[in-house]
């Protein structure tokens, strides 16, 4: 078997199997030249009089100008949310539910358009925005819509009440999906929101403002302020907010926690990760290889719960790495709008530089790098799917979140050693376990200090399934009944 495999690895997998381009049409999306802020149900010109350009990371072409909200703009958005709160929170919950159901439906109806927009603005492959981001975003609204008029059944012996104005800051890796994770439960619980999309991916949020118009969301219930980190800082510092929910880097999460110290404002944080994907010798290896690839190369590795540390049982290390490399050679890197693309563009130049810097450290510290042969487009920001073997736990590539398509392979001998290595991190967002032994999945799951543990799968998400971290990966849960708690107070 080993010999056959060796022969296969030497064949460039692409030869003779080149796909014809299968581009998704971008006609379905028409961006405006300029987007103002979405405040009080209207698009308004920013008081800051300042704008920035959102570019496509795959072509570097400018897509649209977007407002850079300043302190005054943020204050207006918070005022609008405050103004809408009294009315919205006293709506009959069953009617509030209908607004969310409508949003879910509009997202489904416009999913093709939104998926293309997401891939254009963020660089992720169309097959992911089409098959993952959009269906999950719609499902999230559908799920929480149903909770809106059932909240008193969610927490025995407690009387749930909305908090007020929720300040929500989302990242650039799943722009619309993270927006859904934030807005759906907040609205279902009767809060109003001010959402700040990421600087590099503001456009689907601005399209969502139009979804709100179609769904007849009352003015001021959803407000969207675009801008860079300074806009987020204005939002967190604003004294009219009652709640902060942040998804992003651990560094910024800590700054927000510090900023809120002593203010008594409920906070939920969904931060970074360095997840272990643990493969035992008895696992279905080909299935595990698919899971490893999905774990780290899905969305270019721009995933907080990415399986960026592969822990392989020593006895199968060579065989598994061989299979993995062969599979990596079939990954198609390129145009996000091509339906055959597996790995799209790196979201920004800054992120590409961070990935390159960490990858360089991996080589310097003595790990062994492998990258499959791969032709990259000339324009845009790209990084070849990469795997490092001979990685030590002390290497930066085994400790720091790379947030790119870079996998570090480590080995273990016993289940106890696997647990110890998996938990040897400041993070604790997710983990994966591959074995044919059900009892071992549960034994491992018990011991892994992580908020989500995937058995024989990876990077699965569902609106009914709570998601969130241990340790420095943050606190609070999004999704499921538990996700409601972040947006309620109890009398």
């Amino acid at each position: 078997m080993g010999a056959v495999e060796k022969q296969r690895t030497q064949l460039p997998a692409r030869d003779g199997w080149e796909y014809a381009p299968a581009p998704e049409s971008r006609e379905i999306v028409s961006f405006k030249d300029r987007y103002g802020l979405f405040i009080g149900g209207k698009e308004v010109t920013p008081r800051s009089r300042s704008w920035f350009t959102s570019v496509s990371p795959s072509t570097e072409e400018p897509l649209a100008e977007v407002a850079q909200a300043g302190a005054k703009d943020v204050a207006l958005a918070v005022d609008a949310a405050r103004g809408a709160f009294a009315d919205w929170s006293s709506w009959k919950p069953s009617e509030r539910a209908k607004v969310l159901f409508r949003i879910a439906r509009v997202l489904q109806e416009r999913s093709r358009e939104l998926a293309v927009a997401e891939s254009l603005d963020g660089g992720k492959p169309i097959k992911e925005s089409r098959d993952v981001d959009l269906p999950l975003a719609a499902a999230h609204f559908f799920y929480y819509a149903g909770w809106a008029d059932k909240l008193e059944y969610a927490f025995p012996n407690r009387r749930p009440r909305p908090l007020g104005v929720a300040a929500q800051i989302v990242p650039w890796n799943f722009p619309l999906l993270m927006l859904a994770w934030k807005i759906a439960p907040a609205l279902a619980c009767g809060n109003t929101v001010v959402l700040k999309p990421a600087e590099t991916t503001p456009l689907t949020a601005m399209l969502f403002a139009d979804v709100c118009r179609q769904a007849e969301v009352p003015p001021g219930v959803v407000n969207i302020v675009t801008g860079d980190g300074s806009t987020g800082a204005h939002l967190v510092r604003n004294h009219g907010i009652d709640k902060v929910a942040f998804t992003g880097s651990t560094e910024v999460g800590k700054a927000i926690q510090r900023e809120l110290a002593g203010r008594g404002i409920p906070l939920t944080l969904e931060l970074g990760g360095k997840a272990a994907n643990i493969v035992f010798e008895d696992s279905a290896l080909d299935q595990a290889v698919e899971g490893i690839v999905n774990g780290i190369y899905f969305n270019q590795g721009h995933v907080c719960c990415a399986g960026s540390r592969l822990l392989v049982q020593e006895s199968i290390h060579d065989q598994l790495v061989r299979k993995l490399k062969r599979r990596m050679a079939t990954l198609r890197v390129g145009d996000p709008l091509d339906k055959n693309t597996d790995v799209g563009a790196i979201n920004s130049k800054a992120q590409l530089e961070r990935i390159e810097e960490l990858v360089a450290s991996g080589t310097e510290e003595g790990a062994e790098i492998y990258q499959p042969p791969c032709r990259l487009p000339e324009k845009g920001w790209w990084f070849v799917p990469t795997v490092f073997t001979n990685v030590a736990q002390s290497h930066r590539i085994a400790r720091e979140e790379i947030f790119g398509p870079v996998l570090s392979v480590l080995t273990f001998r016993t289940p106890d050693e696997a647990v110890e290595k998996a938990n040897n991190t400041m993070y604790g967002l997710s983990a994966g376990v591959w074995t044919e032994k059900g009892s071992r999945i549960l034994w491992m799951a018990d011991r892994l200090r992580a908020g989500v543990v995937w058995g024989n799968t990876f990077n699965r998400f569902d609106p009914s399934s709570p998601f969130g971290g241990y340790k420095e990966s943050g606190f609070g849960r999004e999704g499921g009944r538990h996700g409601l708690e972040a947006y309620l107070r109890f009398e």
Binding site: A139, F155, P156, N157, R158, T250, G253, K254, A255, Q257, R258, L260, A261, G262, G264, L269, L271, M426, G438, I441, L442, A445, A450, G451, V452, V453, W454, G455, N456, T457, R460, D462, S464, S465, P466, F467, G468, Y470, K471, E472, S473, G474, F475, R477, G480, R481, H482, F490
Partner: protein
Amino acid sequence: MSVRLPVKKTYKLFIGGAFPRSESGRTLELEGHNVARASRKDVRDAVVAARKGFADWSGATAYNRGQVLYRLAETMETRASALAAVCSGRREVARAVDRVVWYAGWADKLAQVLGSSNPVAGPYFNFTSPEPTGVVAVIAPDEPALDGLVARVVPAMVGGNAVVVVASEKHPLAAIELAESIATSDVPAGAFNVLTGLRAELAPVLAAHMDVNAIDVTGAGVDGDAAALEALAAENVKRVVRAREEQSPYEIESFLEMKTVWHPIGR
């Protein structure tokens, strides 16, 4: 005429199941006794002990944790007069003992009330269960001396956390008397630790400690003190906890993580 002098107790720290003096050799005269004045190093020792205790305590079955805490109620009841002497009296002791019994019963019910099985759209059995967050620092409230401490420490312990208590500066003896009940209750060494001394000296060290997972600042009040601790807590994203309800499973939940497991289903 013969005189018999009572044998006075020396109040020391409680770390890793033992009653050491402060490594610094310092004491403070509080409540008529020389009470150990713990140092930064004592704080670090207590956290190391708590991390060890956490493994044992969280590794016990929920049923077992419930029984051990029920036994704590028993040992407190038999030491009622000693406890009454360091708080407002017998009635407070009774309240505290009843509270321990109430929380003990929650140990093996938490997962059913706070957890869930989640109907995901795919071939997975998906469930969420509560787990302890790890080492919890508790800034003990000043009043009530005993029941106030029990109301914060026991909900943290029921779910399997190990605690390091910074005793009240006003009433440090209650914390040490409670430690003596705990020492005879089968609570594993290190699952409960007490530091006495100056709060301003000890609390910030715990709030900034990188191997502490959560800090209960209820006892620090709502003044600038608590705010400063909260800011330090951000260094490793500690969970910052405050009492919300008098007695509730949701008080236990404040010290818990929710773990979601996707287990495959297939032929």
